[in-house]
């Protein structure tokens, strides 16, 4: 177990909540536990037994009432939906995949910065500071939607892509294919194996990007390049979008996007591929 002080941005200040959590607990698990506790107390319905399925033990608060947890976004709890992004101790991260064990070890305090020992209070408790993702649309607390980061994702961009084939036999014949015509976006017209794109549209890349001029951002440019790669018919339109002043030319190659991406999309690589394609077209 590990003693944690969670400092959670709430309007102009921070709400400070403390608790003891397992080291492999994620930041999101901790917020969920604290919120469940506070809501149950607010309803006057705290029972000693707790939920039947194993909840983290209630934090020891020395008899003080449970503090309200500022609003935060979450959905899938496994790094798939992309909603729970926050700046955790200076680094844009997904709360559902960031564990206290990781935060207890040396870690950069800003994208691209050197790893440093974590902040601790005089008693040795781990201090975890949560801020909303920059450049987002703030709702309340640390709940911010990465609206601007996703605005320039092309409408024709397909979220599906062929799955890694890995030498497997084709999928079995499927009598239901006729009843549900195949997705035709992105050139996927054959009944092959499909999967979602790796990008979960969490906006960590844009949140970490220091570019201060108008910029459609790394997520949108990665989508532009993926669509160009998947569907040759759309390549010209995609390159046209990439060539806009707020497209690839605005990128200053800080590469923070690739460092913070929780899905190894490496948006910086996609921007470079777009630059290469634009240069090739100019010749």
């Amino acid at each position: 177990m590990i003693e944690v002080i969670l400092r959670i941005r709430d309007g102009g200040g921070y709400a400070e909540l403390t608790g003891r959590f397992p080291e492999d607990s994620t930041v999101l698990d901790a917020l969920e536990t604290l919120r469940a506790r506070a809501e149950a107390e607010a309803r006057g319905a705290v029972s000693g037994s707790g939920p039947a399925s194993g909840a983290i033990p209630a934090p020891d608060r020395g008899g003080a009432p449970a503090a309200r947890v500022p609003h935060y976004r979450h959905s899938c709890h496994h790094g798939s939906c992309g909603t729970c992004g926050a700046v955790i101790n200076g680094l844009p991260s997904l709360m559902c995949l960031t564990r206290f064990s990781e935060l207890s070890a040396p870690r950069p305090r800003e994208p691209g910065g050197p790893a440093r020992e974590p902040e601790r209070d005089p008693r040795g408790a781990l201090v975890v500071t949560l801020d909303p993702l920059p450049k987002g649309t703030l709702i309340a607390g640390i709940a911010a939607r990465p609206t601007a980061a996703l605005e320039a994702i092309p409408e024709e961009y397909s979220y599906l892509r062929p799955s890694e084939d890995a030498g497997r036999a084709p999928l079995p014949a499927d009598p239901t294919r006729d009843a549900a015509p195949r997705e035709t976006k992105g050139g996927l017209t054959s009944p092959g194996r499909v999967r979602f794109e790796a990008c979960i549209e969490c906006g960590l890349c844009s949140a970490s990007c220091p570019v201060a001029v108008p910029f459609m951002g790394p997520a949108a440019l990665a989508a532009v390049n993926r669509q160009r790669e998947k569907n040759p018919d759309s390549a010209d339109r995609m390159l046209e979008q990439a060539a806009r002043p707020d497209g690839a030319p605005a990128c200053e190659r800080h590469l923070h996007c690739s460092r913070v991406c929780p899905q190894a999309v490496y948006p910086g690589k996609h921007i470079q591929l777009l630059r290469n394609a634009l240069a090739g077209r100019a010749q």
């Binding site: 919120r35 194993g54 450049k135 649309t137 709940a143 499909v194």
Partner: protein, 415 residues
């Protein structure tokens, strides 16, 4: 371009409580039928059971032996969803795998039950199944192909929310219904708490609780005792895409018997227990170890893959279960409760169900609202491909700009 015609407009304002899959589909269904819609979600959209579900698009095969009707409904809905939300579905089919002798013996009854439910299941040779998905246990005895798939739970629900938003539904996340107002036995409106903690009174003509496992809490606001059992299940994801097809055990529904691939992950689930409250439910170490053991039976070596995440969510079982076994016996079917007979006319609760049938759940609830109001409007949600989930964000930003969804400010430009 998503621009379905609204056939006629109705003055009635309907409040939907719950921004998960069923609430999202219901807001869209009601908006498409011409109603004024207010959707309330106390947290972020899909922050309850919807987002944390296993991610299986059910052909219904899992339920074919035990509950023919929900199986048939799953099959019908899976085809509709593949047509109207193709971008939120990895559709690669599925295989039910018999590893033990008793599972092999189950194959004929399983296939015939599927066929009777309208699911085009068919046995394929074990060698063929392993050629298509080599990760399957080499001890595979028999295998049955079914039209299963993978859903992105968040993006499926958010696509319905986008469609509702495009039709003018007012959808408010981080906004909780904290009080219900009745007069003369009829619902009049309620009190809501916005993201900044401010409370305000709102008027509506009907209230539909689509709060899933939270239906008990919403019902209690109106003094109702809703028969609901929050039934948590745990899932574990490892890194690596072990298969493209959904892999299930060829046996009656049990624990740890479904492996769902999704993006670059493979997810084993689930378990089933009972809880007093759907909040704050986390997986236990014992559940995770159990799921790894079960996954290794289906796909040897699963537990050796890099661990990614474990999570739990409460199913909304329609009924009361005194034990876990009783919970298992509760059908995954759904129902609409009309609380008019309990002195709250105009209030309904949508209980039970599963993500795959969210559109059918919404249709049933919207039908009940129409019947209550004496309005004849057909359900047309199967007719139009939905807009992208990404347009929901743009809509929310527009709402924020009008000052109705929190502070809506832009967060700082630098970290």
């Amino acid at each position: 371009m998503f621009d379905p015609p609204i056939l006629s407009r109705h003055d009635a304002r309907i409040c939907v409580v719950g921004g998960g899959g069923s609430g999202a589909a219901l807001a869209y269904d009601l908006a498409l039928r011409g109603f004024s819609v207010l959707l309330l979600e106390k947290g972020e959209f899909t922050s309850g059971t919807t987002g944390r579900h296993h991610g299986q698009l059910h052909s219904g095969a899992r339920y074919a032996v035990g509950d023919r009707e929900i199986a048939r409904e799953c099959m019908e809905e899976t085809l509709v969803l593949r047509r109207i939300v193709p971008q939120a579905i990895e559709y690669n089919g599925g295989i039910f795998a018999a590893i033990r002798d008793d599972e092999a013996d189950y194959a004929p009854a399983f296939v015939s039950a599927c066929l009777e439910a309208g699911i085009p299941a068919r046995e394929i040779p074990a060698a063929e199944a392993r050629a298509r998905e080599p990760a399957l246990n080499p001890a595979l005895k028999r295998s049955v192909w079914v039209p299963d798939g993978t859903i992105d739970a968040y993006r499926l629900a958010a696509s319905f929310l986008s469609a509702a938003a495009a039709l003018g539904a007012e959808m408010r996340a981080f906004t909780e219904l904290v009080g219900v107002e009745t007069s003369g036995g009829r619902i009049q409106g309620g009190t809501i708490r916005d993201p900044c903690g401010r409370e305000e009174r709102v008027s509506f003509d009907c209230l539909v609780s689509a709060a899933g496992a939270w239906a008990g809490e919403v019902g209690a606001l109106a003094g109702l005792d809703i028969p609901i059992t929050p039934a948590p299940g745990t899932m574990v994801a490892v890194r690596g895409r072990i298969s493209d097809m959904v892999l299930s055990r060829l046996a009656p529904p049990g624990d740890g018997d479904i492996l769902v691939p999704q993006r670059g992950l493979s997810i084993i689930g689930s378990t089933q227990t009972r809880a007093d409250s759907p909040e704050g439910i986390l997986p236990t170490k014992a559940e995770i170890e159990f799921l790894f053991r079960r996954a290794d039976e289906l796909v040897p070596g699963f537990s050796a893959a890099p661990f990614h995440a474990a999570w739990a969510a409460a199913r909304p079982l329609a009924g009361r279960a005194a034990s876990d076994a009783e919970g298992r016996a509760i059908s995954r079917d759904f129902a609409v409760l009309d609380h008019g007979t309990e002195g709250v006319s105009g209030m309904f609760t949508l209980i039970g169900g599963k993500a795959t049938v969210l559109r059918a759940m919404a249709r049933k609830a919207a039908d009940a609202v129409c019947a209550h109001l004496g309005i004849r409007e057909p359900c047309r949600t199967a007719d139009f491909p939905l807009p992208s989930w990404r347009s929901l964000d743009a809509f929310q930003a527009r709402m924020a700009g009008r000052g109705t969804a929190g502070s809506g400010g832009r967060t700082g430009g630098t970290a």
